[in-house]
Symmetry: C2
């Protein structure tokens, strides 16, 4: 197979341009346009200015807040000023969660303040709560605790996330955040505190969603910074009971309707066939949402705009989507997928990709497409190679907001980014513009523009995938 | 001169041990003991456990707070458990400043919260204050503003501290913090906000002292994090008026008496002659004071304790001083100097050193001594050389708490530390235990034990210096 592809590749560049078109739907001119898009982005893209504008003029834009509405207006205006052919808003409705004050301290035996933040969706403490803390090495240890053993206590899950380039330390660690409250409440706990799902040692607490289960008491849930978790561990190992005070306010004021903001470059031949790229427009409230996910919005807006400025539009439509409320439940991605399914447009979605892993450089191209379309992916990979991007046939996954449409059968591509430092800043007050390297941003624009343009220019069908549980 | 010293050094190691004693007061046995102290510390010292204990069991210990009293009791007990011959408290009285709440946000044209902290000594805003902000590139630019030109405005000083190994970026930058309120008030400003005196880009505001002048209105003063200052600069350059909201509470509840905590190893021959090492026991309230200056206290306590465990005490007394309230005006160092002057003990202070520049490795030995005693410093430097420490005849300065006794004529030594990252953490919530490298701490214990032991073992008089303005 490898040899066969190799021979095919040789033939493409040598004597058989017609065959090239058969396998990839792309000719030398198309590849030259892609290389031009790529190289121009590397010379300097608009992405930095876009993310600077978003973080400066809107800043934190948590779903359901006034800043969410400001972000939607910002995105609409930005798409228009960037010259997209069509810009529209797609309503997305969800329940709102609002953070109030949050304070924590060690009451005894060594009184001192702690840096914490409520997890997204948590209830408040309904006044100040004071209780002894019981440490668990991880979620499994908490699950193994005897029923009722935490009556009146605060559960503390102290496991530490491990750093990897691809962020694979997140999965094993994040259960403490998403499931901690339910598991602690089952044992009788009055609250749960976790070590932040984080890879660094700065004193920022990392927020993120948690959930409650029907029939299990809803207890407050908060994360503390890594240094605070270290401190608590060091206190606990001295052997005296450690009492914490927690005072957390939070509100669930009802539903809100925000919007996916969509800009498209209309395809010249096959406008009904759509390649989508995008990021999510909402952020958590603590930082300015620069790397999560102002960067993704900026990269894909800039990539789309670069395609829009070409002399000739690609065959298919390129759609850039700034998704609503990813952080609190992928609401924008789900609504986008539902609406496309209702309209019978899943198969028309030729390839979907999302940038939502910070602002580090792209190092791999992966995809989930019909095997017959793989030569197109390989060809895109060849154009991406000078950016330091390798094409990987195995593994990968669509971005979070692309997940719902992929679950309905749509195909996807992933431009995997170096996320080595992503979980240093993710979901903290420290997610700010200065964490972005403008040159890395340009590299990503180059990668997204190349991917989107070639996927939209080819007429090879990327097929569909077997629908699955989202 | 260099050649002469070189020949002398050769002679010391070769044929003339009697001459060695004449020039340095140290023989081969003394140097062997020093090397043993040094090498044992490098194998692992007690400093980590000491600073872990202080930061865990006491934590933040701002002067005049209940944690200040807890720190004094902690230090006394720690000196005693480390086997110091004599441990005592020296009262130090000072005015107290207490931080209350502090909130800031951009009100218009781009509403979003800002991370700020009140500067030490600042008055509060007396409710919420809202005013337009005017940017100045540095303190000099503010000073050059026309009288009355800031009537009803908030002055913003945006200069950025530069990173150097020896921290020399601090001096040019810190005037904005110490003098900003006075200069802004002279022009009519209602408050001053500054870019934190900081070398990194994490979203921590750095506190630190500021002062008021008689006859100039006392206006609130706060620092914002570097990312927040960037944000404000980016907003201002868009050209629309930028309005800030500030709500800062602070109290000046009166005087408090804390204590210098002193432990000493009594000299075997010359107990009235004293070599002092130390750090300051107080910290700011935001972090746990690990690098500023738990490290200094721990390093010098561990060094003193190592000397105390030797079979034979040095000729002179070694005194380890945990100074009170360095942060808000060098109160502990001033009282220590005054009391020694009153007792006629300045000349008996043979050499004084302080560790108060974080937890980075020592790279240079410098001193201010009678030129006749310089061969002793050179000899100490030879024992320190394997630690990567060079001896520098020029430059250097005593630590902040040593300054007052040096101003009265006492001699000093400096073990200059690598402070490359010191101003990343200094005076922030992020000054926590995890920022300390235990191996670097051991190296510093090795250096301080070597210095203190050799300075206390020699009978060469370090002399006195011309008294000067403190």
């Amino acid at each position: 197979m490898r040899l066969a592809r190799h021979l095919l590749a040789l033939s493409l560049f040598a004597a058989l341009p017609a065959l090239a078109n058969d396998a990839t739907g792309l000719d030398a001119g198309d590849l030259a346009v892609a290389a031009g898009l790529r190289d121009q982005a590397m010379q300097g893209s608009e992405a930095w200015d876009i993310v600077e504008s978003l973080t400066t003029e809107v800043g934190p834009r948590m779903a359901g807040t006034p800043a969410d509405a400001a972000a939607v207006q910002w995105a609409k205006a930005k798409f228009e000023s960037l010259g997209f052919d069509r810009v529209w808003l797609e309503p997305v409705t969800f329940p709102v969660w609002l953070r109030g004050h949050e304070r924590a301290e060690v009451v005894a035996p060594y009184p001192q303040p702690l840096v914490i933040t409520a997890l997204g969706g948590s209830v408040g403490t309904d006044g100040r709560l004071e209780a002894e803390v019981v440490e668990f090495a991880d979620l499994a240890a908490l699950q193994a605790a005897p029923a009722g053993s935490l009556e009146g206590k605060i559960a503390f899950i102290s496991n530490r996330m491990v750093r990897f380039k691809d962020g694979r330390g997140y999965g094993p660690a994040v259960g403490a955040r998403s499931r901690g409250a339910v598991e602690a409440a089952k044992k009788g706990a009055v609250a749960v505190v976790i070590r932040s799902i984080s890879t660094n040692s700065d004193r920022f607490a990392h927020t993120g969603t948690m959930r409650y289960d029907e029939g299990v008491p809803r207890i407050p849930a908060a994360a503390m910074s890594n240094p605070d978790a270290d401190l608590l561990v060091n206190m606990i190992r001295r052997g005296k009971p450690v009492t914490l005070g927690l005072d957390i306010a939070a509100e669930h004021p009802g539903e809100y309707t925000s919007h996916n903001v969509i800009g498209e470059i209309r395809g010249r031949d096959l406008p009904g066939e759509v390649v989508t790229i995008g990021g999510h427009l909402d952020s958590w409230d603590l930082g300015t949402g620069a790397i999560d996910d102002g960067a993704g919005v900026a990269i894909t807006m800039a990539a789309g705009a670069a395609i829009g400025r070409l002399e000739r539009a690609p065959r298919r439509t390129v759609r850039v989507i700034a998704y609503a409320n990813e952080e609190q439940g992928l609401y924008g991605g789900k609504v986008y997928a539902e609406n496309r399914a209702t309209a019978g447009e899943i198969a028309a979605h030729q390839l979907s990709a999302e940038s939502d892993f910070g602002a580090g450089r792209v190092y791999a191209l992966r995809a989930g497409v019909d095997p017959a379309a793989w030569p197109v992916i390989e060809k895109i990979g060849e154009v991406l190679a000078p950016l330091g991007v390798v094409t990987e046939r195995e593994g990968g996954s669509p971005g979070p907001d692309v997940g719902p449409i992929v679950a309905r059968g749509a195909t996807w591509a992933q431009l995997a980014q170096d996320g080595t430092d992503y979980f240093d800043y993710h979901h903290t007050a420290n997610d700010t513009l200065d964490k972005i390297d403008p040159k890395a941003l340009d590299q990503q624009v180059a990668a997204y523009a190349t991917l989107a343009w070639l996927a939209a220019e080819t007429d090879v069908d990327f097929g569909t995938l077997p629908p699955r549980q989202p």
